[in-house]
């Protein structure tokens, strides 16, 4: 257990954070009226958030070792134990999840009228599932949470969604399931080869034969690529987003997508270093395609949410680009961009949900001249548009700049292509903003005069406030967040490049350099 620091606090903080929402569910079952349900769920999520806060201050930034580790026998005969812990990489995702869960409950205060109890139970179960994935240090536990998380999401989309929600929910479920089954095969292979243990730390010490690494990498790639939505397998995302209720979209965009990239960081890279180096070239190319392809598709979208969904495909293309550039700036940029994307796109979906509550339409053509109707809303959305484009001073810029920097350092041509992503980003986001807020609506458009659309109310402003504070905090002072990552990223890079560690040089990237 040399690379783990057992839990220093007197109470098992991580177990509490993960299972507190689960404890909320039975309480919900007892309550009858909707109002009480909403307040209890809100209370539960807020408590979880405050329980997870001490993780930040108690965190020791200097070491790459896993912290707050809790270990206890679970299934001794197979060597499976309940082992959880966090490090520099996973700490922010936990806080992001607990924060976004509060906001999800707040945003669906009025929009979810029927089946309120089931909705809030699904959200709490969702939260536990997500937190579990980020803290699990044992493959069995990880896979358990990885699958458990699908069911509430399926319910959220399938029951509370839009018109053809069932198609979207089934597609989402099957896509992820198909990928994760391959991962299960990979886990079993690792279990058998790694000496009958499922402890991730132990498994990443072992040196696997090259050929096996390639196969294992492909298996894990299948599961994580679907989740990240990398280029060819991304079509479930727009459907899932357009059909999901606001809360579902926020969680989907905010946290669910990050698990794929987190999986690469936690499993593929440390355990299969040679395969990572070998596959980093193709993945870089795939991410470039994802960036440009995602952006181009956004130009032609008619549906508001679908456009933002495709834009998150493009943003996640940036993240994978950063991660697989395999140098410190790219990696840290990638992780920070994951948090940023969670904040920005999460906020954007919150706002789309709010306007959807009023206008009940997601078709962009129905909107027009909203800057006069709802000025505060327009202002807030303006900040989001520019954060998503990556304007300096907002968090989007820090992430994107570091990623492009990393990509450029890995290979100049990739850097140039990645940078075109910014121009395209500006293109479609501003066109969207102009169509909805600036242009005068066409006369037969029913929102301009008849029933005035009311501006943001206090509840909605409170929902958005924490995210906007984060946007400008990361934008102007990102070091508070970057400090947590330094040691973990450094360690990860050493693991990946241990045989070619020349300043984090990316072997394959040089190879591309010769071709171009």
């Amino acid at each position: 257990m040399e690379n783990m620091i057992m839990n220093q606090l007197d109470y098992p903080i991580l177990s509490w954070t993960v299972f507190l929402p689960l404890i909320g569910i039975p309480i919900l079952l007892l309550i009858r009226n909707a109002k009480a349900i909403r307040w209890t769920t809100l209370l539960m999520t807020i408590i979880t958030f405050f329980v997870s806060l001490p993780l930040l201050c108690g965190f020791d930034k200097t070491t790459y070792k896993m912290q707050f580790v809790e270990k206890s026998e679970w299934i001794p005969s197979w060597g499976i134990n309940y082992l959880i812990g966090i490090d520099g990489i996973s700490i922010f995702f936990i806080l992001l999840t607990t924060l976004l869960s509060i906001l999800c409950v707040l945003v669906s205060w009025k929009s979810v009228g029927t089946k309120v109890k089931e909705f809030h139970i699904a959200i709490l179960a969702m939260e536990t599932g997500m937190l579990g994935v980020f803290v699990a240090m044992d493959f069995f536990l990880f896979y358990l949470f990885w699958e458990a998380m699908l069911i509430p999401m399926f319910i959220l989309i399938g029951v509370f969604g839009g018109e053809n929600r069932v198609y979207a929910a089934v597609k989402f479920f099957l896509y992820t399931l198909a990928g994760s089954l391959l991962m299960l095969v990979g886990i079993v292979v690792l279990y058998l080869y790694g000496g009958r243990t499922l402890d991730i730390m132990a498994l990443s010490q072992i040196q696997y034969p090259i050929k096996m690494q390639y196969w294992l990498f492909m298996a894990f790639f299948a599961a994580f690529a679907v989740k990240v939505p990398m280029f060819p397998v991304h079509t479930w995302l727009p459907d899932a987003h357009t059909e999901a209720p606001t809360a579902g979209s926020v969680i989907l965009a905010g946290v669910l997508i990050k698990m794929g990239a987190y999986g690469f960081l936690r499993f593929s890279m440390p355990m299969l270093p040679d395969a990572t180096l070998f596959f980093s070239g193709p993945i870089l190319v795939l991410s470039i395609i994802a960036i440009i392809y995602g952006a181009l598709v956004c130009f032609a979208q008619k549906d508001f949410k679908r456009l933002i969904a495709y834009s998150s495909v493009s943003h996640m293309g940036f993240v994978t680009l950063g991660l697989f550039a395999l140098n410190t700036q790219g990696m840290e940029g990638g992780i920070l961009q994951m948090v940023n994307h969670g904040v920005i796109t999460g906020a954007m979906f919150l706002m789309i949900g709010m306007i959807y509550e009023r206008t009940h339409t997601r078709v962009i053509a129905d909107y027009g001249g909203f800057a006069k109707l709802v000025p505060w809303y327009a202002g807030f959305f303006m900040v989001l548009t520019f954060a998503s484009i990556g304007l300096p001073g907002t968090n989007g810029f820090i992430g994107e700049f570091l990623i492009i920097f990393g990509a450029f350092k890995a290979n100049m041509i990739l850097g140039v292509f990645a940078a075109t992503g910014i121009i395209l980003g500006a293109g479609y986001m501003l066109t969207l903003y102009q169509k909805i807020f600036f242009q005068d609506a066409d006369p037969d458009y029913e929102f301009s005069g008849k029933h005035p659309v009311r501006d943001l109310e206090l509840r909605e402003v409170i929902t958005l406030l924490p995210l906007f504070v984060l946007i400008f905090w990361i934008g102007f002072y990102p070091n508070t967040f970057l400090e947590y990552m330094h040691s973990s990223v450094e360690h990860l890079l050493q693991q990946v490049n241990q045989n070619v560690y020349a300043g984090g040089e990316n072997v394959f990237a040089k190879y591309i350099m010769e071709i171009f």
Partner: protein, 644 residues
């Protein structure tokens, strides 16, 4: 240290206050916050400049912004001679324009929003100018682009304004694309983004090359070209100039402040700031000079035939910027910055003057108030604006002893000395000066002389603009005249070139190796050119007004090409915008829908086909099932007894 940080922070505070509380509390008292803020930063800027005057260079790191592995960038302030000049330009002209727009924007619904965005613009421009490393400059660079987006698209209900704003932002983004890559390349080669370190180590990498797409590319040239790409985007040079004329959709004070005095000069400032880098790469210098020279003549030709008063001045701005880049290209950095300094005054004056003309016509309910063909004979109604215009035009055309003459002549002289390429560029410059004189005086004669061509009852309602507009005009007029006296060339007044010596420590001072005779020839030629333009304009528009029509009909195709701005907009639209939209519409969506959805939905339908096949076996007939069972038993028994 706080004193210096306050310079950009005051406008930022006014922005935050205005934008947050503007809508329901401040409404149209926004200028009570904005104007004091800009004046405050003006006073602080002056005090900082005085410190710089007596030799003190301020270079402070406020806090470390991004730390990621070896990449370490901090927010810092650098105030040296070059920054001092820019500070003076931005804050002084900014204050005058703030006061001017109190009158101009009076009664507009978005009054508070206008002042909020203007203050944000001043903040970003000051950050850009006072940055001590490339990343903070990049921050200012993009923020300035953002504010121009807000301000161009200020009257957002007008679709044309919204489109113009979007176009400006995206074209700037193209420039920032190059600038961003340049910044990254700089860090990769020098290991730091701080100016002092980068310029200090610039000498070390002169010979280095880098393989790019198989070719050996000189590193320093690549960096300079990338930076220059950003400059071209921001300062509307030839390939990226399309957004500036459309930016006239914004209110006139915006055009004056952003598209004349400050933002567009950011590119010039950046190249001047990186003069040590540029001077190491001759090819980069030549490209800057050629682009500058070409843009000067190119924009001047278009301005000849434009009818919209603001577009004429916009093209003249593009042309004057071409001059500045020409100066930078031939190594005369201080001349370029000097021209920037004087140009800010008389161009802002021209814009504000035309603003007061438009303001007056607007009040007179004259529709299409920006079209010069509608104006005429305003001399009688608006004397102050008329005389101010005259002064500005005299200065821009280069009539001796006015600011325009000194700065433009300095550029032409320095270009002349720069070898045979210099000679050719000097000729281009002189020709552009001729065209400048012609279209400037054409503008004067069309608007102020002759009879009013608009509908007559509006003419009666035209009257001089209120004092709050005319006072800044007059102050600017003084600036337009006097600003040039700071840089009188030694030939008239020895060690008269005060600004050259002031900027020397940062920009260096090119030793002129041309003889006095050549200098006199250059000065004489530029004076001759200025007067010639004036005379031609006088003949065409005053002597016999019919002549322009006959000339234009004679050269019908030439006029059409010039009037449509060489169809560059349409060209860009066809080659870049339409393909992207069409690609996203047809190819990408089709790919997304058919290929991937096809695969995704194909698999279940494939399984469906199999199952349909299997269903035929279930015939529902009892005897079939019995027969199958019997055959099954038969096979088993047969296998058990015979096969084994």
């Amino acid at each position: 240290m706080l004193k210096y940080i306050l310079i950009p922070l005051l406008p930022l505070l006014s922005f935050i206050i205005n934008i947050l509380f503007g809508r329901n509390y401040i409404k149209n008292r926004a200028h009570w916050i904005a104007v004091p803020a800009i004046l405050g930063s003006f006073v602080l800027a002056v005090s900082a400049c005085i410190e710089v005057l007596n030799g003190k260079v301020i270079d402070i790191n406020v806090y470390s912004w991004i730390v990621s592995g070896s990449f370490n960038v901090s927010v810092g302030i650098l105030i040296d001679q070059l920054t001092a000049v820019m500070l003076m330009v931005v804050t002084s002209i900014g204050s005058l324009i703030f006061i001017y727009s109190v009158g101009y924007m009076h009664g507009d619904k978005g009054y508070y929003r206008f002042f909020a965005y203007l203050s944000l613009f001043i903040f970003s421009m000051l950050t850009l100018v006072m940055a001590n490393n490339f990343l903070i400059m990049y921050l200012g660079w993009e923020a300035v682009g953002l504010c121009s987006y807000f301000l161009i698209g200020f009257w957002f209900h007008k679709k044309s304004a919204g489109d113009a704003g979007k176009k400006a932002f995206i074209v700037n983004r193209f420039g920032d694309f190059g600038f961003g890559l340049g910044v990254i390349l700089i860090f990769l080669t020098f290991g730091s983004l701080n100016y002092m370190e980068v310029f200090g180590a610039a000498g070390g990498i002169v010979g280095q090359t880098i393989t790019l797409l198989g070719y050996k590319v000189d590193l320093i040239t690549l960096i300079c070209l990338l930076l220059f790409c950003g400059a071209m985007g921001k300062s509307a040079q030839f390939p990226f100039h399309v957004w500036l004329p459309d930016a006239m959709e914004g209110p006139t004070p915006v055009s004056a402040l952003i598209h004349a005095a400050t933002m567009v000069t950011a590119g010039v400032f950046m190249v001047a700031r990186c003069n040590t880098l540029f001077s190491y790469s001759q090819t980069a210098m030549n490209t800057v000079a050629i682009v500058g020279g070409f843009t000067a003549i190119f924009a001047a030709t278009i301005a000849l035939v434009q009818n919209d008063i603001k577009r004429v001045i916009a093209y003249s701005t593009v042309s004057q910027l071409g001059y500045m880049f020409l100066a930078l290209g031939v190594g005369a950095y201080s001349a370029g910055v000097f021209h920037l300094y004087t140009h800010a005054f008389f161009k802002a004056l021209l814009f504000l003057g035309s603003g007061s003309v438009i303001h007056a016509l607007h009040h007179a309910k004259q529709d299409d108030e920006q079209n010069m063909q509608v104006m005429g004979g305003l001399k009688k109604h608006m004397p102050i604006t008329y005389w101010v215009f005259i002064l500005a035009t005299l200065s821009i055309t280069g009539i001796p002893f006015l600011s325009g003459f000194f700065s433009k002549d300095e550029i032409l002289w320095q270009t002349f000395q720069a070898g045979d390429l210099g000679k050719f560029l000097w000729f281009l410059g002189a020709l552009a000066a001729l065209l400048t004189a012609f279209y400037s005086w054409r503008l004067i004669y069309l608007t102020f002389h002759g009879e009013y061509r608009g509908d007559t009852e509006c003419e009666s309602r035209i009257h001089e603009s209120p004092l709050v507009i005319t006072i800044p005009l007059m102050l600017l007029a003084v600036g337009a005249v006097a600003a040039g006296w700071v840089g009188i060339p030694p030939v008239f007044l020895e060690h008269g070139d005060k600004i050259g010596y002031f900027l020397a420590p940062v920009l260096g001072h090119p030793e002129g190796h041309g003889t006095h005779a050549q200098e006199y020839f250059v000065i004489a030629s530029s004076i001759f050119v200025a007067i010639a333009g004036w005379v031609i304009a006088y003949i065409m528009y005053i002597k016999n007004p019919g002549l322009p029509e006959k000339l234009f009909s004679a050269f019908r195709p030439v006029h059409k090409v010039l009037f449509n701005k060489y169809y560059i907009d349409e060209f860009y639209d066809k080659t870049i915008v339409q393909p992207v939209l069409k690609a996203s519409d047809k190819i990408i969506l089709a790919f997304d829908v058919n290929v991937i959805e096809g695969v995704v939905n194909g698999v279940p339908s494939l399984i469906g086909v199999f199952s349909k096949g299997l269903r035929k076996i279930q015939t529902g007939l009892l005897s079939n099932y019995a027969a199958v069972m019997a055959i099954g038993v038969l096979c088993v028994v047969g296998y058990m007894f015979f096969m084994r």
